[in-house]
């Protein structure tokens, strides 16, 4: 009994990083611009939901979230050219929760990310 409780506890602490939930981070940091439903804002701000830009496997969400994004990008056939501010102070644990929230909500097929993965990605941001 104690052993299975311990296993459950281990499972719990490894599957979510500590800190604010992905959802609360999304609402606090992203929803103002990208919308509560990830719909974006007209042709000013790209959507996060059903975005072919995000679906690309080589995209590093962690780099974009931390450093922001400048310059024109094409999302679902529309060119956007405003600059996105980054959230440089976001801790790795929070970044993991936020990315996993985005994946779970709109990109089920994408794997969960972890702190080591995010650390490696951030080291490679250009």
């Amino acid at each position: 009994m104690k052993y299975s409780c311990f296993l459950l506890f281990l499972l719990f602490i490894t599957s979510c990083a500590e800190g604010p939930s992905g959802e609360s981070l999304y609402i606090g940091q992203c929803a103002g611009c990208h919308g509560k439903e990830g719909e974006g804002l007209g042709q000013l701000i790209p959507p996060l939901a059903d975005s072919d830009f995000i679906r690309k496997n080589n995209i590093r969400l962690s780099c974009i979230i931390i450093h922001g994004l400048e310059g024109p990008i094409v999302v679902n056939g529309v060119t956007y050219n405003s600059s996105m501010p980054g959230v440089p102070k976001l801790k790795n644990a929070d970044l993991v929760n936020l990315i996993n929230y985005i994946h779970k909500r709109w990109y089920n097929d994408k794997p969960m990310t972890t702190i080591p993965i995010v650390s490696d990605e951030l080291a490679e941001c250009k």
Partner: protein, 208 residues
Amino acid sequence: MRVVVVLMLMFVVACKHSQVDKLPILGNKDVVQKEVNGVMVTDTVYQTIPDFEFINQNGKPVTQQSLNGKIYIADFFFTTCPTICPAMKRNLLTVYNQFKENDTVAILSHTIDPVHDSVAVLKDYATRLGVTSGQWYFVTGNKDSIFQIAQYYLVSAHEDEQAAGGLLHSGHLVLVDKQKRIRGLYDGTVEEDASKLIKDIDILLKEL
């Protein structure tokens, strides 16, 4: 007896009338004494938005005269604003879509970064936002004039090196009536305030 009935009817009508929602008049006011028919009477004079001249996204001038007979919502933003502006514009878009067909309602968005936000930039911004008809004016003009008039709208706007984007401004939406008086202030970043604004516009439209 008939007088009593008439008086009672008048009372009922007057009471019903006072139950109709009425928006407050906000802003600075002066209480003045004036003589009416030989009697000194106290009157309240409310602050009004002074005249201005700015240029809209179509290159056309916009002044107080352009807004005569209309109620309007004023706000201050800049196109490269990274923080509160998108949320404000999203909420204003809800208001715009609600009253697009109504000539009596206008929206006046002032840029506080006229150096960057030229007519062409504002036109692109408006189009991208989905504003191609109706009376949503995105205006630019002399920077000092814009900052000065912001104060009349009870909105703060000024340059600030520490602020993201270099400009600091409050995210208020200001409801102005046909007499150019402020009738409501709403937090443009809060969806519930946008709903209240829509309700208040309906109330104000009924005011004679």
